[in-house]
């Protein structure tokens, strides 16, 4: 078959029914189009066929025979420069698809209307078939608008992030794009049973890797059982599908009923995975319930006594409620992926889509008993993570073991169904909260019991985080896990905080209502954090806040309301971080073993160097994504910027002292903060620094009381994270944090079949993440004071920028309708039911 791709004729031996995306990627080596969902929903595979954008995952090869195909690699269009200038991307995995579609839209728009700004809803409709999990939609709108106005017809402006053009042109190489000579494809065979002992695994294939735990018991549908390989993806999927698994079924716990059969026995519970990012809290077991952990409570008995007394006297200043949250899935657009190769010297080379190149290398060395110097982890570009891509995960285990067995490189890429089932999720939760104010309106007591639902995983630590907000009033904070035979929860952007704030920030809102006090004024009184005080003052002065309606005053079909929520997060840092600088010709090359999952780590380092060394951008190159470089931080816990930026500055100063001559090489360190850290020595390479980052979100929604929808109109995000090193990527991340928070509030929910425990939301048309049309107008305000004690004066903001958003939506819905949502997500059915009461 003959096809013309980017102006070049190709002869391909692809089958006529093969998806075009595979023909391009595997056949022609054009990896700009990404096969991210394979159901035509996400748009990452979009190409233009005779100028018309189409989803190449659903396009049979026969459909492009004799046609002209254009991929992002072949595109040379002003909208690409606009995406770079306006930062219409983060991780970049969805970007090639977006730009192909956007180019067609911009051309059609300008031809029809001239060089004028299109309305937002026209852009949203044109890009409706594209999903960006990072939530870079504000930048995408800005880019498309500017390109339509003809602002990018000429030379390229400076990109907002250094690797922008690589991503925009489809040339950036992600793990899923890696193809080595002789590479085989691997696939994972997974459990069809929620709870069973596996008695036999029969596969018509020589190479099988066992992935079962020592007790041979699978504890959820989708748990890995074995891995297999074949030369092509189609073949290996067929082999995996034909595997015959013998099960001895065990009773499964698919709900939190007290009489549910046990998920673990005393022995196996020791190996339960954890959804906590730091240390897993201790706790006893009672059947499938673990906990409580209440170690951070403060004058617990006083808190309970006060609440009990208030309950007895029906104190109107006792606010109580039960709040629940759904399981939220990370589902980064680049699925978990690994290419493993053992070289002739016995070294292990891992191309891994990871947030932790260094940690992955360390864990691989330990697991496969190798010297640390013999493991080489590469992650040039990472298509999103959000907490799900930490350390050595199952796709890496499968690829490494298969590569060893087959003596050939092996690539394992999870399907979207696997990604949505068993590759990372934020546990669901049920929270009982009681909040008491005294006669003077001061916080008198707080009690919070949070039951986390992370499937087979333990480690819910939500209530714990309520210790860090609203002063020192007595409080009892208890965390529990309810384990079930469902896929494990994992750490997800701000672990524990969104469910905690969903309950606490609504209870505080309710208290303001009872006290007939402005909710911002109340928070300002209760909250001792001076940086958040500045944010409250900023928020209180917003016209949208000053002019908000009185709760319950709205009638009619469409009701607008405004809500606020505050958030708090820890300041973490990796004290061992180093940045190496080497002068190569007239270019300064920076290296550190960190990675960029879309946050802008390269850009932060490049910006510091440009400032310190007075060099133009084209004389600085940042090399990251290699485990062998000097130590760098994992992209976990909002610690990258606070770790790498001061180290880069230190290196720059050393280099300046030494002189910028070719061959010069220095290593800068992340020197300590004034006053040191709260943790006397690093734990897992991490120190807890002094001070807390803060956020205040003010959200305006419009509720359609007829059809049950909630439209977020405008969101203001105030962020107190000190110095902002790279303004546009930082703002982008905060905007993306709002988008993910809106997804959590309104749409996202992993649903499982109550009978079998099978995940039903196994495709992106069933698991609903926000699209560009769901994007509100966003204003980000950075309060940059208050971190003078920190080396570099700035800390991370990835987590604090998202964790409180859902609560601000709920408070806005309450303001609009008088009805308070208790359960996430606030689906149309819940809203219709709630407002009908």
């Amino acid at each position: 078959m003959k096809i013309m791709v980017n102006g070049v004729p190709h002869e391909t031996d692809a089958g006529r029914d093969d998806p075009v995306v595979d023909v391009l990627r595997d056949g022609l080596g054009l990896t700009g189009a990404k096969a991210a969902c394979r159901t035509g929903v996400c748009g990452a595979c979009t190409i233009a066929v005779d100028g018309t954008p189409q989803a190449s995952c659903l396009l049979p090869a026969a459909a492009v025979e004799g046609r002209a195909v254009t991929t992002a690699e072949g595109l040379d269009h002003p909208v690409q420069r606009a995406f770079a200038a306006h930062d219409g991307l983060q991780c970049g995995y969805c970007t090639p698809g977006f730009v192909v579609e956007a180019a067609a839209f911009v051309d059609a728009w300008r031809a029809e209307h001239g060089d004028v700004t299109p309305p937002r809803d026209r852009i949203a409709a044109a890009l409706a078939g594209h999903l960006c999990r990072c939530g870079a939609y504000a930048g995408i709108y800005a880019a498309v608008e500017a390109a339509c106005r003809g602002e990018h017809d000429g030379e390229a402006a400076a990109p907002a992030r250094v690797e922008a053009m690589e991503k925009i042109t489809g040339h950036a190489r992600y793990t899923t794009d890696v193809r080595l000579d002789g590479q085989l494809e691997g696939a994972i065979i997974r459990s069809a049973q929620a709870h069973a002992r596996v008695t036999s695994v029969e596969v018509d294939h020589a190479h099988v890797v066992d992935l079962l735990p020592p007790d041979r018991i699978v504890r959820y549908v989708g748990q890995p059982i074995a891995a297999v390989t074949a030369p092509t993806r189609q073949e290996v999927l067929a082999i995996a599908e034909s595997a015959r698994i013998g099960y001895e079924p065990l009773p499964a716990a698919l709900d939190d009923a007290p009489d549910a059969p046990p998920v673990y026995d005393e022995q196996s519970r020791k190996h339960a995975p954890s959804s906590s990012e730091g240390l897993t809290l201790p706790g006893g077991w009672n059947g499938n319930v673990r906990g409580p952990f209440s170690g951070v409570s403060r004058r617990s008995r006083t808190a309970v006594n006060r609440i009990e007394a208030a309950r007895r006297r029906a104190d109107p200043l006792l606010v109580t409620g039960t709040f629940s949250t759904a399981v939220q899935v990370h589902t980064p657009l680049e699925p978990h992926a690994c290419v493993a190769r053992w070289d002739e010297r016995g070294d292990l080379h891992l191309y891994l889509s990871t947030q932790t190149v260094a940690l992955a290398a360390e864990q691989a060395a330990k697991r496969w008993k190798l010297d640390a110097s013999r493991v080489h982890v590469v992650a040039d570009h990472v298509g999103g993570g959000f907490g799900a891509k930490s350390g050595i995960t199952v796709e890496a285990v499968a690829a490494v073991e298969l590569a060893r067995l087959c003596r050939a490189p092996v690539r394992v890429v999870l399907s979207r169904a696997e990604e949505l089932t068993d590759a990372g999720s934020r546990p669901g939760s049920r929270t009982r909260i009681a909040l008491l104010a005294d006669g003077g309106g001061e916080l008198s007591a707080l009690a919070m019991d949070v039951h986390g639902r992370g499937g087979v995983a333990i480690g819910s630590s939500a209530a714990l985080l309520a210790r860090l907000m609203y002063g020192t009033a007595p409080r009892r904070l208890r965390d529990f896990d309810i384990v079930t035979n469902e896929p494990p929860g994992t750490p997800f952007r701000g672990p524990g905080a969104p469910p905690m704030l969903w309950a606490l920030e609504q209870a505080v809102d309710e208290m303001a209502h009872r006290l007939d006090e402005d909710p911002i004024v109340l928070r300002r009184r209760w909250d001792g954090n001076p940086k958040r005080h500045a944010l409250y003052d900023w928020a209180a002065a917003l016209p949208i806040w000053r002019d908000r309606p009185r709760t319950g005053s709205r009638s009619g079909r469409f009701r607008r309301g405004v809500g606020v929520a505050a958030a708090n997060w820890m300041y973490l840092v990796a004290p061992a971080t180093k940045v190496e600088l080497e002068v190569e010709g007239d270019t300064v090359v920076a290296r550190t073993a960190t990675q960029d999952i879309g946050t802008g780590a390269r850009t932060v380092i490049a910006g510091v160097l440009a400032e310190e060394l007075g060099l133009p951008a084209d004389r600085i190159r940042v090399e990251i994504g290699r485990s062998g470089f000097v130590p760098g931080p994992p992209a976990l816990g909002s610690r990258t910027t606070a770790s790498v930026a001061p180290a880069a500055r230190d290196a720059a100063r050393l280099l300046r002292a030494q002189g910028l001559r070719p061959g010069a090489k220095v290593v800068g360190r992340r020197r300590g903060d004034r006053g040191g850290y709260l943790t006397p020595f690093p734990v897992h390479g991490m120190a807890l620094g002094r001070g807390f980052s803060g956020a205040v979100h003010v959200t305006e929604v419009e509720v359609d009381t007829r059809l049950g929808t909630i439209r977020p109109l405008r969101v203001w995000g105030g962020i107190a994270a000190g110095r902002i090193y790279a303004e546009r990527p930082a703002r982008n991340q905060c905007e993306g944090g709002i988008i993910q928070g809106l997804g959590y509030a309104l749409y996202e929910e992993r649903r499982t079949d109550p009978v079998t425990g099978t995940v039903l939301t196994a495709g992106l048309d069933d698991y609903h993440i926000p699209g560009i049309g769901d994007t509100p107008e966003m204003t980000i305000h950075f309060h940059q004071d208050g971190w003078e004690h920190v080396n570099g004066h700035g800390v991370g903001l990835g987590e604090v920028s998202t964790v409180g958003v859902a609560a601000s939506v709920a408070n806005a819905v309450h303001n609009a309708t008088g009805w308070r949502p208790h359960d996430l997500p606030i689906r149309p059915d819940r809203l219709l039911e709630g407002i009908s009461r």
């Binding site: 029914d17 659903l58 949203a124 049950g708 049309g773 149309p828 059915d829």
Partner: protein
């Protein structure tokens, strides 16, 4: 006009008995096929198989291989059959509309999460049960007419139903579009064409002068989502009186629906709210989808108001 069936290649007709016909492929490529794909796109140049052909009486003949995008952007179609054009504009996403065809839309398989998940078998793929019934019914049909609870996926079928369109299937005379779907009691399939029967074209009756129409898709997000409930309304106003009304609904039953009771009430001058509320009598909610009763009435009210141009408040 009709598509000249004597020009259909014999080998293709034969192959279609054992495989699944593929036009744009947007549905078929995303799920395992029942047999080999039978590529129909070679028929595109057959007279009447693709594009809109206007008849002397002003009616439209739409080839089964016409893309949704072509339907959505045709100015004459928008004027003559606005409900159809609005529905076409609102379904799926631009990339899908550019490729997906009218015939494929009418004959696509349903979106039930159980049917689409290889972990389950059900009436639709050789099984003998409906796992949704005992399981998650949040998105299930709220009008329960048979063993299967999957709402019918075709928005165009619903719109065409309100036009009393007919379809041309080779080897058979013109069929009313409703007969493609029956009453929903056969749980094993989403349309009633037998293997090898090819849908060739759609015929619309002549346009109704002065038609005003609206389509609405109730979803959680703003774009790109399968409907919780969808509805379409066509009305003709004679002063303030409604002299002609056709109302359809989807997302609520095994088959696309025509809502005769709503049409009658509207023609009798009943307020829209009361007319839309009549749909509740049809509903037999499962454990998780009682909200669809409210949403159906709300969506029907929405399209009636939009079509008639009465302001929503």
């Amino acid at each position: 006009m009709t598509v000249p069936t004597d020009l259909l290649p014999a080998d293709l007709l034969l192959a279609a008995r054992d495989g699944e016909p593929r036009a744009g492929g947007t549905d078929l490529m995303s799920r395992p096929a029942a047999g080999p794909h039978v590529d129909l796109t070679g028929l595109r140049d057959l007279p009447g198989m693709s594009g809109i052909t206007w008849q002397p009486d002003g009616s439209a003949h739409i080839g089964a291989l016409t893309t949704i995008a072509d339907l959505a952007r045709d100015a004459r179609l928008r004027a003559a059959y606005p409900a159809l054009a609005l529905t076409a504009q609102a379904l799926a996403t631009p990339q899908i509309r550019a490729v997906a065809t009218v015939g494929g839309n009418l004959l696509q398989r349903n979106r039930c999460r159980y049917y689409r998940n290889p972990a389950f078998t059900c009436h639709q793929n050789g099984g003998n049960s409906c796992p949704a019934r005992a399981g998650d019914t949040l998105y299930a049909a709220v009008i329960d007419t048979g063993p299967c609870l999957a709402p019918h996926p075709s928005s165009l079928a619903m719109a065409l139903l309100t036009y009393d369109a007919s379809v041309q299937v080779h080897d058979r005379g013109p069929l009313p579009i409703a007969s493609l779907y029956g009453d929903g009691s056969d749980p094993s399939r989403d349309h009633l064409l037998d293997p090898g029967e090819l849908l060739l074209a759609i015929h619309l009756p002549p346009p109704v002068a002065g038609e005003r129409a609206a389509y609405h898709r109730a979803t959680g997000r703003s774009e790109a989502e399968w409907p919780l409930v969808e509805a379409v309304a066509r009305v003709v106003l004679d002063g303030t009186r409604i002299s002609h009304a056709a109302v359809g609904a989807g997302g609520v039953a095994r088959v696309p629906l025509r809502l005769g009771e709503v049409e009658e009430a509207v023609l009798a001058g009943e307020p829209f709210t009361a007319a839309a509320a009549l749909t509740a009598a049809r509903c037999t909610p499962a454990s998780g989808n009682a909200y669809k009763v409210t949403l159906l009435a709300g969506t029907v009210l929405e399209v009636l108001e939009q079509a008639a141009g009465t302001s929503a408040s």
